[in-house]
């Protein structure tokens, strides 16, 4: 196990190095650069600015500089926001994380419960209704659910706020503050859960159907175990197995932010920041964020593999 871990860690570092180079090259290859944004500037000024930002240097040299600084913990300043990249992360990522972790929790909870029940009662009314509801939630574009809920709940009924994270100008602290945030995150969490729950439920149902028919379940039943125990302790554990690989994959998503949801609900998250820095070619910010997600992805993959082994010791690492 520990040699396995060592080997994996080494691979991880190699992959991250490879990824960083690849990502840097990709961003450098994108048409336009930060100076291009202001195409009305005189050519000499553009040249001066490229000199100041180091954009006139060869790509590999820029990459080495970036790597060198990154190793020293310096991720640079955002060109467009004039702030250290890490400060910006800190300003935005936690807001995205809050939404993601809450909705992920509800998504998994709902998916497991509904998936198990639907599988158990395959072809029942409940099963059909659930499936139709799930497909419905999955195949409606997110901005429509979002707009619809804002229109009904916020604009017409005025039960919930139309967007943002706080009441504008609010000076709430402590419990009041928490209450305000919860109030504001209700709608986005509902939409994110709706969007995510479909595929996961279907996934659990399908796995559960597989497992229920296996011999050990029949054995368990034959032994006279309670149906609930059979279902949740034996069947579910096995049905969860393939799903466990998904947990690792959720990790980057937790911090990555959601562009559309954040935009519709005016949520101050990292998804919007990424998109903005993307369109203005703010390389330090782009590079910093992408590498951050890359690191999470690699860690997430490792977690998946280890969890997989833990859940099913037969599978060799």
């Amino acid at each position: 196990m520990s040699t396995y871990l060592m080997r994996r860690l080494m691979y991880m570092i190699l992959i991250l190095l490879g990824a960083s180079l690849l990502i840097f090259l990709l961003y450098a290859m994108m048409p336009g650069d930060f100076v291009t944004n202001n195409f009305k500037l005189p050519a000499e000024r553009k040249a001066e600015l490229r000199e100041i930002y180091g954009l006139n240097k060869p790509v590999l040299e820029r990459y080495m500089n970036w790597m060198n600084n990154a190793f020293h913990g310096n991720f640079g300043f955002s060109l467009s926001q004039q702030k250290p990249v890490l400060t910006l992360f800190n300003d935005y990522i936690w807001n995205s994380f809050l939404l993601a972790i809450t909705s992920t929790f509800f998504t998994w909870l709902l998916a497991v419960v509904i998936g198990v029940v639907a599988a158990y009662k395959q072809y029942s009314w409940f099963d059909t209704m659930v499936m139709i509801f799930i497909f419905a939630a999955m195949s409606i574009p997110s901005f429509f659910i979002g707009l619809f809920l804002i229109k009904i709940m916020a604009v017409d009924l005025k039960w919930l706020p139309p967007g943002g994270m706080l009441v504008t100008g609010s000076n709430a602290t402590g419990m009041e503050y928490i209450k305000e945030v919860v109030h504001h995150m209700f709608l986005p969490v509902v939409v994110m859960t709706l969007l995510g729950v479909g595929s996961l439920t279907r996934y659990f149902r399908s796995n559960m159907l597989d497992v229920i028919r296996q011999d050990f379940i029949r054995t368990a039943r034959a032994k006279g175990m309670k149906e609930r125990v059979v279902l949740y302790r034996h069947a579910l554990r096995n049905a969860m197995l393939p799903a466990i690989t998904l947990i690792g994959f959720e990790l980057p998503g937790l911090f990555g932010g959601s562009l559309i949801i954040e935009k519709i609900f005016n949520w101050p998250g990292i998804g919007q920041l990424y998109m903005q820095s993307f369109t203005v070619r703010d390389y330090p910010l782009l590079m910093g964020f992408t590498m951050f997600i890359a690191i999470l992805t690699v860690i997430g993959t490792l977690i998946s593999d280890i969890l997989y082994h833990v859940a099913d010791p037969r599978v060799k690492l």
């Binding site: 604009v155 562009l259 005016n266 919007q272 993307f278 203005v280």
Partner: protein, 580 residues
């Protein structure tokens, strides 16, 4: 001039507004001219009706203030305005985003500002003199000016501000560097001089500056915001400006408000500045709320007091229907255009360019599909500019027959497949634009229009503004869609014809008139120059001028004293806003 800086910067932001514009531009939360200009390049309102639109020309007052949502009712000393995306870099000259410019325009006053027509009026400077050769400007500051931290503002601060911009590590886009040149500025920048030769402090209230060449914009460019030397210059050494980044979040200014708190991605909170030279503003708190995209829900629920919308019939009807909003219509001070690539032999021919202008149904694209939120443009100036004229201007009304005739005259004859040919070459026009609803509309209509006159339109869209520019700079296009930033001075609208931006266009007469227009500050003389200039450009057709955007501002009916300056947005009247 602060607004000029902001508008210049707004190009930067044009691309970042991509998403907002793509998805829901019905109400770009434009609180200021900056965003409307940015949105302009990107999107237009998608909806339209066929019912004849009764044009809104005069302001409408709120019909029923009792409909005001409780949330807006509760606020007594706070006004909330939406702003797309302030990033937190609030020091003027050092901003990369036009939205930060909107914030600093509240925090900083300038030496000289402009009135609604774009003519200079005093701000921090009480008066000024310009030498008869147009090279030396002497500014007389008001007495007892103070920064928001209570320290006095003197000529030293003015000199410091100008000097700072000439530092070699300065990475902003001030027109001090790009449009005018202060005498000795270059030597300082290259490290050859310890100070800038052209800047002379006469006494604490008076400062003179000499520039290399007369420029009608000199006064407003030099008369921009002033940074405190004591605060921003404390750690200054030549060649390193990184320390300033740490001060962006804690601005010390001269404007009506000072910064109370910045919550990234959510709000910029201001509190009235007791040291403001015109006296403390009438409303204690002011908030820029970050609203990406649609502001309807915030206006309707009273979370926001002010919003700017495209002047479509549906928008206006809906705003009127809400009852608690005052509505002011206005036209943006910029223009949209389609630029020809005059380096391509086909388009070198003026007749072809004119034919393509006649052959494009601009009314359908820019007025009808836009529900009246646009007006067809024919010259490089907005109808609200003092230089605007329709005298001797060809309106190029949609006329396919005329277009066909011009193409025939130019030697392009219809081929077997209906596409015109000349010397075995087909008449194909390669259009580039960035992805937006406005571009979608243009392509749909233009394809049909041009097919009808025997021209094949090959339309290509780019993922964002930056990618479009990269393609544009590579020269691989025939026609490209743009819109200008807010135009402070008429010269801003025509500079592209003389500075090489419109590659392949070289008309000596245009260059001569451009110089003539800047060489004097006399308005009547300049009007005459620009009239002639517009007539030539209108006839030469290096651009197909497309449209001027029409907008409406809607705000909480309780606010008194609000007026809209097409050049300065809301900051001009902000100190006078009061909640009744």
């Amino acid at each position: 001039m602060k607004k000029l800086l902001i508008t210049l910067l707004s190009i930067t932001m044009a691309s970042s507004i991509l998403l907002a514009a793509c998805s829901n531009d019905s109400s770009t939360p434009a609180s200021n001219s900056t965003q409307t200009s940015a949105a302009d390049t990107k999107g237009t309102e998608n909806s339209s009706t066929t019912t004849a639109t009764t044009e809104l020309t005069a302001p409408i007052a709120a019909s029923d203030l009792s409909k005001l949502p409780a949330q807006a009712q509760k606020r007594t000393d706070t006004i909330i305005v939406g702003l797309t995306d302030p990033s937190g870099a609030f020091t003027p000259y050092f901003q990369q985003s036009g939205y930060d410019g909107n914030v600093s325009s509240v925090l900083y006053a300038s030496l000289v500002t402009v009135d609604d027509k774009g003519l200079p009026i005093p701000d921090l400077a009480e008066k000024w003199d310009i030498s008869s050769d147009g090279l030396t400007y002497t500014f007389h500051l008001r007495k007892e000016l103070k920064f928001s931290d209570g320290t006095p503002l003197t000529a030293e601060d003015v000199a410091f501000t100008w000097t700072l911009i000439h530092d070699k590590s300065y990475d902003g886009q001030s027109e001090l560097l790009t449009t005018i040149a202060i005498k000795g500025g270059k030597a300082y920048k290259e490290g050859k001089a310890k100070s800038i030769e052209g800047i002379k402090i006469i006494d604490p209230q008076t400062i003179a500056v000499t520039i290399e060449k007369p420029n009608a914009k000199g006064l407003t460019i030099l008369g921009s915001e002033i940074l405190s030397k004591a605060y921003y210059g404390k750690d200054y050494t030549f060649g390193s400006l990184d320390y300033i980044k740490k001060l962006h979040a804690t601005p010390v200014g001269t404007g009506p408000y000072k910064l109370e708190k910045f919550i990234p991605g959510q709000e910029v909170r201001f509190v009235a500045n007791e040291f403001y030279y015109k006296g403390k503003p009438k409303t204690e708190h002011f908030i820029y709320k970050t609203t990406e995209g649609d502001t309807w829900q915030f206006i309707e629920t009273g979370e926001q007091d002010y919003g700017s919308f495209q002047a479509t019939q549906e928008n206006i009807d809906k705003l009127k229907g809400l009852g608690f909003l005052n509505i002011i219509p206005y036209t943006a001070n910029n223009y949209g255009y389609l630029q020809f690539n005059l380096e391509h032999p086909t388009l070198k021919d003026k007749k072809v360019r004119q034919a393509l202008t006649y052959g494009l149904d601009r009314k359908t694209i820019y007025v009808d599909a836009n529900q009246g939120a646009g007006q067809i443009a024919n010259i490089p100036a907005s109808p609200i500019a003092w230089s605007y004229t329709e005298e001797g201007i060809n309106p190029y009304n949609y006329d396919p027959e005329k277009a066909k005739q011009l193409l025939d005259e130019a030697g392009w004859k219809e081929g077997a497949d209906g596409i015109r040919e000349k010397d075995g070459q087909k008449l194909k026009i390669h259009f580039i634009g960035s992805k937006s609803k406005a571009t979608d509309i243009f392509i749909a209509v233009a394809k049909e229009n041009y097919t009808a006159i025997g021209v094949q339109l090959e339309a290509e869209q780019f993922a964002d503004f930056n990618a479009q520019i990269a393609k544009f700079e590579s020269g691989d296009f025939d026609l490209v869609s743009f819109s200008t930033p807010i135009l402070g001075d008429p010269s801003d609208g025509v500079i592209s014809f003389v500075n090489g931006e419109v590659k392949g266009y070289d008309n000596p007469k245009v260059k001569e008139l451009y110089e003539k227009g800047l060489a004097t500050s006399d308005i009547e003389a300049r009007k005459a120059v620009y009239k002639e200039l517009y007539q030539i450009i209108n006839d030469d057709a290096p651009y197909i001028f497309t449209s001027y955007r029409k907008l409406v501002v809607a705000y909480n009916g309780r606010i008194e004293g609000l007026s809209i300056s097409p050049l300065r947005g809301l900051s001009a009247s902000l100190p006078d806003w009061k909640l009744k």
